[in-house]
Each structure stands twice: as C-alpha cells, then as structure tokens.
Point group: C2
Chain length 472, copies 2
C-alpha cells in the first residue's frame, strides 16, 4: 500500500468513523453473536498474496462489526465505561502515525516530557499532593502491582535483604490488607508479587461497602502478634461493585503507625476529584504512598491511560531499574526514563491524547460532564426509590446505581435472584442498553453506570421506561 | 467538539499524516532538543476553558514534533525497529474509534475471536507448533514475566503448595537460567516474580554470543547438588546486542531431563521464522513451554503487539484467573477471556491491525521485505569487511550489523572506544541516521539495524558513505 493509497483509504475511514459515531445508536450495544461465530467466518489460513484494502474493510463491516460490543454507545451502562472522545481519537491517529517507542527520554524526548507535564496537570485538576511523581501505566491492575512490588522492595531493602535481589528466603510472612469489596486486581497483584493470596486479608465492609477500620486495626494487631509482617493496605475510592469509599484518613493513620505502605485504588472514581464537591476525598491522600486512577475510564481519554502516582520515586526506580549497555544514554541521570517506572519496556506515546482532551474541553467542560453524569444517576435512583417494586442496593456516591427488583412477600431469595437475572437479560436483549450485574451482601444486583460521552437524559428516561415495563 | 468538527479535523490530520510519511526524511531522525526544553514550553497549569483544535494542533507541530525521535524514518537504525505500515495505522484508527475494552469475550466477541485466529495465522506463518495457544501481550517483557509466573505456579501447584496461594514460605530456592546476553527483561521478571536476581544464573556465551550448553548443564548439576531447584531456562533467538541464537534443541533436552520450563524469547528475530531459510530454528521449538515474538518490531504492525504462545493453557489460566462476580458471564467455560492470560485486566483491540497487515501484504510480500532487510545487512557487512579500518563484532544472522573502528596498532582500548563513541555521535549528529551502541566481549560496539518499512539500498549506501568519510 503506497502512502497515496493510504491517504485515500484513511479519508474513507474518517468518513466511516464520523458516521459510526453519529449513528452508533443503530447498533445493538452488545453483540448478538454466538461463541465461535466470528472465528469460523475468518479463514484458518493466512493469505499468501496481498488483498485490496476494499475487501479487507468490507470484511471488517460484515464480520467484525456485528461481533463488537459498542462501548461508545450511549446505552452502554455496564461495568465501568471506557469513554473516548473526538480529540482523543485524533490524538490516537497521530500516535499511530508517529509510531514512536517511548521507553526512554532519548527514544522520544517530547513524549517523555509531555507525560511528565500531563501528570502534573491531572494532579492539579484533582487536587492531588503536588510532590507526587506521576507516570502513565496501561491499567490500574499493573499500577497496583507496581505499588505492591515497590512496597516489597522498600521494606526489604531497608533491611539489606532486598527481595528483588535475594528472593523471599529469610523474609517474614507479609500481610496485605484490602476491603472485601476491593478489585480482583489486588488479589492478582498479591499472587504475582509472591505473597500468596492466603496473605491477602479481605477486611469486611460496613453497610456502605466501606472498609471497617476497627476490624483492620484489630487484624493488624493480631497479625503482628502472630509474627506476620503487615506490609501494605490497598484502600479503594469507588469500589467496582458499588463505588464504595474506604476511609482513607483513618486507614492512613494506621499505616503510618505501623510503617505500612498505603496504596489507593481510585481507578474509576478518581476522576470525580476534579469536582470541588468531591475534593474532600483528596484531603487525606497525603497519607498515601501510591495512587492510581484511570483517565481511560471516565475522562474521555482512550484506553490505555492509567495515571499512577508515587510519593517515593527513588523506591519506584530501585524496584524496576536495570541498566544494560544497549539502553544506556548520556542523559540517564538528568531525565525520566519511564521504562524504569513499570513492568513493560516498550511504551506508546500516551500523553498526547490527554493533552488533546484536557485542552479541547478545558477543566470547566470536563467538570460539567461529570456533574451531568452524576445527576443522571441521582435522577435514575430517585425514580427507583419512588417505585416500591425496586430497591437501591448501595448509596449512589457517583454515577453508578446498584438496584434490584425487591423480593415479593414471602418470596425465596433464589427466586428473587432469578427474576432479577431475567430482568437483566431482557434489558440487554433489546440491544438499546447493556447493563451488568454484581453481588452485594450476597444478593444479585443490577448495575447501571451513566458515564458515556454521549449519554443524555433521554437515554436514562428510556432505560427507566423499559425497566418499568419489564418489571410488570 | 462535535462529530462533524471531528470529521473535518480528522480529514485534515489524514493529509498531515500522509504528508508526514511522504516527507519523513526531512526531519532529523533523533530530536535535537535539550532535556527540559519541551517541558518548559508546555504551561504548568491545565486550561480552565476549552481551546480550538487549530491551536492545539499548531502546538503539536511547533512543540511536540521537533522533540520526537522519528521511529518510522528510514534512517532509524538504532535499538530494534518498531516498524509500522499504512494498513496498521488504518486499523489503529478504527480501534481508537470503536474504543472497545477487550478484556472478556462478552465485552467484544469479535476482538477475542479475531485474536485467536490471528495467533493461529502467525503460528502457521512461522511454523510454530500447532498445538500452542496464543495471546497478544503488550511487550515481550510482560510475556517473559507471564512465563516465569506460570512456571512458578505449575511447579508449586503440583506439590500442593501453589505460590499464588501460599507465597514462598516452605519453597525451595529456585534457579532461573539465561545466557549472559539475554535481555534485561529476564532479570526484571526474575525480580518481580520474587526469585531474586541472585538466583538468575547468567550462563556465558561462545564466540557467536550463543549460550554454552555444557556450562548450563554443569551449572544445573551443581545447583541440584547444592539443593537449589532449577525451574526455568529462558533461551534467546536473536539477542538484543547482536541477535545471537541459543541452541534451543540441546537446551530443550536439558529442560526435559530436569523437568524445567523452557521459555524462548524471540522478541525481535522471531519474525524471520516466516522465511524457509530460517525455519530450521523453529524445528526444536517443540521443546518450549512458552514462546514470544513481537510483530510490533519487525512485522509492520504498530506497537503494542507481542505474540505470546504457551503449551499448557490450563497452567497459564490457573496462574492468572480470578473470577469476581462482576466479571462472570454465562459463557465463561466456552470462550476465551483473555484477561486471564496476562497481567492487565483491560485490553485494546489489538488483533485488528494484525489482520489488516497480514491481508494487505500477504505472506509473500512480508517475506520479500524480510529478505530485503537481511540483504541490506549482508551488503553493509560486506563493505565493512572489505575495509580494514573496520571490524565486524558478531555474525550477521539477520539484519543487525555489529561493528566498530578497529584499534590502531598499539592503540589503547580506551582510545579505540573513544573513537567509536565519537563516530556514533558524529553519525547521529547528521540527523540522517540514528544508530545505537552496545558492548560485546566488553568492547564498545556500534549497531546498525536495517528493518524500517521504507529503508532502501540508497539509505544503506549513504550510511556507508558517511561512515567511510567520518572514519578518515
């Protein structure tokens, strides 16, 4: 494909892309395909000779598109959103064209320095401690793993027995604490770092799905008595099931007293700290040793763009830095080489889309969008609350509403669950909306998140209308 | 930004993108900026109000572009390439627009199934064992970490003491083996997995920078006698410094005898297995338990796209699978949920660009390009060999040439090094080429890789002409 052919096809794609975004509501949110259906429409063998792009794009439309779940559809209300936006897509087009490897300062100085500045912008926008050091990670899962590894390194290096160098031989048994509502990535990171999931203590939560600090304190004491080494607490701002909020201040003071690392996982809800009315959540973040939130979830920025902050940059670098000759450059002591700030060596130019998004919208438009989303959730919750067929299953802290059909009088819980599962399936079968479920206090719960770039009040009204009818 | 504004700007960007690729040789390959120069041109504070896209794009041209190292420039001959191509960029445009989260089958069935098929296509193209299971990872660093974690899980789970669950308590001291020329990501993975870098045995290499199997065998024996537990060998097909090739067959037989995991890191050179003349390298891969190569290096596919294969899929899933309620779907036993195949939960739709690339070029054009690159290296090496000012520092197995200015009679090694460093700087200062260095047998060595999408014989001739003049 020549560059002039590329120009022609790229123009055609741009029109398709704009039309797709204009007409996205014509697609069912969740693909109606059976397992294996797409696979079997793609030949077993790769082609020996090249094919015209027209054929390939036609197959994209015919085979791939019907098999996609449309995450940018305003009716996408499942999981957490991964909202994108026009300026973010524009940046991704440039990123793909430059196709620069941004592992070292030298391999792309502008990418490194723009990343540094964008992380400062985000910290400023969210009222995060100004002395933190930021870096873009792919996901909050990786960021949480980085946090545990750095905590592990810092503890063991202080005792001249760095696990990075010597392994776990002769180390105490470490304990990691997180709420029972913490994300599965915490357990994944605990496993990967070699602590063993048995040493992840899942502390029960209160009625608001917020970690009970007195139980955490008690557990730490008991563990110390048993000879375990409490190492780290992962606190959550906005749990995945219900956006529950752990009490950062009291947890932070406990960590301080016990010389433990505090990692705060605000993957989804962290964006809300842009709003003054949520800023109080940031006040006690000064206790945190590390922090993560995902602009790729609720800040109009394409995945992957997870903002990871750490207080002790030297500990982070000690954890990941390895300096073979072929990666040495004359400026290594002067500049940031972000390959030493995480697991992968190679890195995309991910700061560009943040720059485009933050400048195109400006802080005021982003705040307005967040408030719009949060108001939609409040409105939807108010309708549910006023209807005695439904019950809210958790406080609506942000823009997620957890609800279910109430048990009918004398109804067995398993039957209530079945009715709710049927309701969820019926909603998703319409193709207009896609919701997912969770389990809160053991009870099957529907989740609706209003965080799409293009979601309007009319969509939420339509969802309510549908649910109200289906629940008859 | 409305969607119609997006359409307008995206068309403008497409013309810029095509012009950029057409005129890329007008840019210096490596940015001539000082540390902090770009940073200080970006305001400290994010904007409160939105800005017109025209301003943002103008700043991209004015501030960012002069600070980029141009990885797609045909004169980029440093590190390993990260070559891209028009169809790959077209796919990235669609991926960014769909902006789908591809963590579960349900969250994008077509992305999951296209990934499965593309990994089969790659295996077929490279003659890899057909019973392997493939998944796209972000980088070879992550893939190698996955391999070590899976080896760790498999060994310990067989003894009912899975480290994932119980941690390292009561485990033997594990030993990992790799050649002295293995990539720094092996040591990074050894550290992260908790083995300790002291337990990474770096086995010396022979004159061809190929691991000495007899030394590996001896080391394993000694370690067993000392009570260590040999766990895994990481063999390299194409080392970073010199594309050295470890003897997979003999290493594989040793691994089999000692019940060790064999991971093969073919990050760069793996693409060459598409050529029948290199296919012999694949013959002994049947010994491998896992394998990685990067289409995002030498297969015209944008980063990130690292192809990771594993023999024992169940062991991989046991290592990473955690099933919280909010991620459960009705089809979990029938489909692939690729979030359980690696570290991050979130995943981009990365298979699309592979599909576009493999179909646009077809196997025959990709093979022709690889041969073109390899011939350029042979040609360049022949000129060096015929000129007694230079010496080759390693065999030219693929398309990397390692060379230096020969020591002058009676010249001190440190002075030779200085002359070579000056030569490298002088080449890079022209802006027409960008080469990097390494150290082979302790000697400062220049590396030139000919793997760019648009590199032609004239570029290599021009490089030779320049070097020949500078060496006077």
């Amino acid at each position: 494909m020549t560059i002039e052919e590329f120009r022609k096809y790229a123009h055609e794609l741009v029109d398709w892309m704009a039309d797709y975004l204009n007409n996205i509501e014509q697609y069912p949110v969740k693909a109606f395909v059976a397992p294996g259906e797409v696979l079997h429409r793609i030949p077993n063998m790769p082609p020996e000779t090249g094919e015209p792009f027209e054929n390939i794009f036609a197959d994209f439309i015919k085979i791939i598109l019907p098999g996609m779940t449309h995450w940018q559809h305003p009716g996408f209300m499942g999981y957490f959103p991964a909202n994108s936006s026009p300026p973010s897509v524009l940046a991704e087009m440039l990123t793909a064209t430059l196709a620069a490897q941004c592992m070292l300062w030298q391999t792309s100085p502008a990418a490194t320095e723009l990343e540094e500045r964008m992380m400062q912008w985000l910290a400023h926008l969210c009222g995060l401690p100004t002395h933190w050091h930021g870096v873009i990670q792919d996901t909050a899962s990786s960021a949480t793993l980085c946090a545990l590894l750095t905590a592990r390194e810092k503890y063991s290096a202080q005792r001249q027995m760095a696990i990075n160098q010597y392994g776990f031989e002769g180390q105490p048994i470490f304990r990691i604490y997180a709420s029972a509502e913490s994300h599965s990535s915490v357990e994944k990171a605990v496993r990967i770092a070699g602590f063993g999931s048995n040493n992840l203590v899942k502390v029960p939560t209160d009625d608001n799905f917020s970690l009970k600090v007195e139980l955490l304190e008690q557990q730490i004491k008991e563990d110390l008595q048993k000879g375990y080494q409490p190492l780290c607490v992962v606190a959550t701002l906005g749990t995945t099931s219900s956006t529950g909020i752990d009490p950062i201040g009291p947890i932070g003071r406990l960590c301080q007293e016990n010389h433990m690392w505090l990692h705060v996982d605000a993957a989804y809800a962290g964006t809300a700290l842009m709003l003054p009315e949520y800023r109080y959540l940031a006040q006690e973040l000064s206790y945190a040793d590390s922090y993560v939130f995902n602009p790729h979830k609720w800040m109009l920025t394409n995945f992957d763009c997870s903002a990871y902050y750490v207080k002790d940059k030297e500990a982070l670098l000690r954890t990941f830095e390895i300096m073979p000759e072929y990666l040495k450059t004359p400026l290594d002591r002067v500049v940031n080489n972000y390959r030493d700030w995480g697991i992968p060596l190679g890195r995309r130019f991910r700061a560009l889309k943040l720059w485009f998004v933050l400048r195109t919208y400006g802080a005021e438009n982003l705040r307005a969008l967040l408030r719009h989303h949060i108001n939609l959730a409040k409105q939807f919750a108010s309708w549910l609350k006023a209807d005695d067929r439904f019950e809210l299953m958790a406080p609506v802290h942000f823009n997620l509403v957890c609800f279910r059909l109430k048990p009918k009088q004398g109804e067995d819980e398993s039957f209530t669950e079945q009715r709710n599962e049927q309701l969820l399936n019926a909603i998703n079968q319409t193709g207009h909306f896609f919701l997912t479920h969770t389990r809160l206090n053991g009870k099957y719960t529907l989740r609706a998140v209003f965080g799409q770039t293009y979601v309007k009040e009319k969509h939420v009204r339509a969802l309510w209308h549908l649910i109200s009818q289906l629940a008859l």
